[in-house]
Amino acid sequence: MSNPYLYTLVRWLAVGGAIILLMFATYGFLRAMKARRSTAIGYALILPWLLGLVIWQLFPIVASLFLSFTEYDVLTPPRWVGLQNYRDMFTRDPRFWPSVRLTVLYSVISVPLGMLGALATATLLAREVRGVGFWRTLYYVPAVLPAAATALLWRWMFASRGLINSLLMPVYNLLGMEPLSWFSDERLVLPSFIIMSFWGVFGANTVILLAALKNVPKELKEAARVDGASSWTVFWRITVPMISPALLYVMIMGIIGAMQNFTAPLFIKTPGGAGTFLNVYVYQQGFTQFKMGYASAVAWFLMLLIMILTALVWKWSDAYVYYEGEVRNQ
């Protein structure tokens, strides 16, 4: 066993073999318990995923809840401190609330704006024009690029003599103002991140909304037109209600994603930590400040915030989301 890489390879193969054996064991066990053949096969096949979920996600999530009540510097065993971390977070930490404010404002502003953008793009791409496949591919490309590369690209575009300021030069001249310094200006950090977030608009969201748009029955629209409805009315009274489940989905996923914004703010330097989103703060506390317990507490607070926002959207959705075949009493 002189070569450590060989040793690692052997270990990996052993783990793979063990999982396969476990899958057979699961199948055998379920069959012995008189489960249906298809059921047994199903559970056996999802076993690797289930193991992954429990070991790599469920366990860490539960463990972090425990750690959030401890002082844990990673190198020594965690020490129970009760609610101390949460108390410090809410009352003593001067960096916590600005970070919460930034994260929430970012989500609340960027997600609806981004949805409007995605909806507009999807409407455009839903038209049957020549080469539409090419355009659809083109608009999806940004979603495929690695987040870190995108962050660097945007940092460059927002530079004082970058692309965006060059384009805006005529405006600056007209208004007689100094070019904005975007990420280097504390007050413009949030707007810069929001503008940057639209990049994501052209990815998955557009595709989802496009699919939903394609599913809107033509008959409904035609019937409305026959009745004399304008395209605007058709869009707001028929198209939007018909795709409202997709909109809801995009909105909730958008909020969850926006609240967890991490890669871009980690890569983009901002003055005074003005661009420290909560998730970045969690990372900093846990991995550079030896405060894993505190970081866990912040992470759970973030989780709670996301839950609340999601629940609000969900509650509110009753009013405007229509599911196909649903009958409503006015």
Partner: protein, 436 residues
């Protein structure tokens, strides 16, 4: 009645959405751990038999490709000679400390590890590092002779009188200057006896805003600590009991630093530095005088004629900051004796590779040129700078202390949100709260 199942479904859906969304972002960070090979030493339980099989000593470093190849050549030589151990190098150039911490938490930490100066004391104070004091005292090999190390460099590897690591490098800061920019304006090159005021004066003369050329560039680097030391002040007292950053000496240094940083008369504004890159601007010929570490490649740029000079002298002395790193031994290593032997051999090897070896007997121009032939023209300056070099004084909660010092003193000062005296006076209490 009908609302309850609906509510439960909604909650479940929310939870599962959260889980998948969380999962999505976490895969990015988790695969950094999956990829690292972990050749476990624990598998070799059979060594207590008389067979003199070599013990595997795992060494973690942040060495990148080129550096790792050079280091591995040294390790190969050591392994060939060693009878009791075999060093296995595990480089982790990205997210090094994240990985190290995770490995300590998971009980798979390496036997030997590189730690930059900020980390030795924090790790040692938390019991993660092996106390080397007695072994070093009983060892008469030259590399184990602590008296030979520069005391203010060695300090970063010591806590409460015990030694937890051997420094393998100390890179004093020197000033690299662009000869062409001096020649253009017929300004004589700086000499080793220059002072703060002369430096600032030169920087003003060399600045040519219209052409995008500045006399110097600061952005938090060089560390303001160095200027505070040069003024006769301290950021943390030797007994680690106080942080006198509001002393007249410290204020003088903070004010001097603040008169340079982002002041367009002598240095580029922050936005320009952020966009064009800090050292990149010097390499692009846009900065006349730049503070760099001794082994930086600033003097190897095609088409750039670069001179070396010591940092300007402060009001009291010319203490030079030195970026320093040590190799330490994991407290939980299964083979402390072999790990110690490996540490000694490795440190000796690295002292003959990196500049500057942090030992008085080796901080000579000849040794510097031998270790790094490309530094021939700067060797004399580096050697002299090394005589007065000093690393940071580190406390167990260094990272917290440093964040406060940056966020409550330096940053607001550099963005003109207060005077040095106000900010330092206010921050001192918070800084002292995290002292041991």
């Amino acid at each position: 009645m009908r609302r309850t199942p609906k509510l439960i479904t909604a909650l479940l859906l929310t939870l599962s959405l959260l889980l998948t969304a969380c999962g999505g972002t976490q895969t990015d960070s988790s695969d950094t751990q999956g990829g690292s090979p972990q050749p476990a030493a624990e598998g070799k339980a059979d060594e207590q038999s008389a067979s003199r099989e070599k013990v595997t000593i795992r060494l973690a470093t942040w060495a990148g490709a080129q550096e790792a190849a050079e280091l591995e050549a040294i390790i190969d030589e050591i392994n060939a000679e060693a009878e009791t151990f075999q060093i296995v190098h595990e480089p982790a150039p990205a997210d090094y400390y994240t990985k190290i911490q995770t490995m300590f938490a998971g009980g798979t930490a390496p036997d030997l590890l590189w730690l930059a100066q900020e980390y030795v004391v924090p790790y040692a104070a938390r019991g993660a590092l092996l106390d080397l004091t007695d072994r070093l005292a009983a060892d008469d090999r030259p590399v184990a002779d602590l008296d030979d190390y520069f005391p203010l460099v060695l300090e970063h590897a010591q806590y409460e009188g015990r030694t937890y690591g051997l420094p393998w490098v100390a890179q004093p800061v020197i000033v690299y200057y662009n000869m062409d920019l001096f020649d253009e304006k017929n300004i004589p090159y700086p000499t080793d006896d220059w002072t703060w005021e002369e430096f600032r004066e030169l920087a003003a003369q060399l600045t040519d805003k219209e052409r995008g050329i500045w006399g110097t560039s600061f952005n938090g680097w060089p560390p303001v600590h160095m200027f505070i030391w040069q003024a006769g002040g301290e950021v943390i007292s030797p007994d680690l009991k106080s942080s006198p950053i509001d002393s007249p000496e410290a204020i003088e240094a903070l004010e001097f630093y603040n008169s340079i940083i982002y002041n367009e008369e002598v240095a580029p504004p922050m936005a320009t530095v952020n966009e064009q890159g800090f050292s990149e601007m010097f390499k692009a010929g846009k900065i006349a005088m730049f503070f760099g570490g001794a082994s930086d490649d600033l003097d190897r740029v095609e088409g750039l004629r670069v001179g070396h000079v010591r940092v300007p002298q402060g009001p009291k002395n010319r203490t030079t900051f030195a970026w320093t790193a040590s190799t330490a031994v994991n407290a939980k290593t299964e083979h402390p004796d072999e790990a110690y032997e490996a540490l000694i051999a490795l440190t000796e090897g690295i002292h003959n590779w990196k500049i500057v070896p942090p030992r008085k007997s080796m901080a000579t121009a000849e040794q510097i040129i031998k270790n790094e032939p490309r530094k021939e023209s700067g060797a004399e300056t580096i050697m002299q700078a090394a005589q007065e070099m000093r690393a940071f004084r580190i406390i167990p909660k260094h990272q917290e202390w440093d964040t406060i010092f940056w966020e409550q003193v330096q940053e607001p000062l550099y963005s003109k949100k207060g005077t040095a005296a106000e900010l330092a006076g206010k921050a001192r209490a918070s800084l002292e709260e995290v002292l041991p």
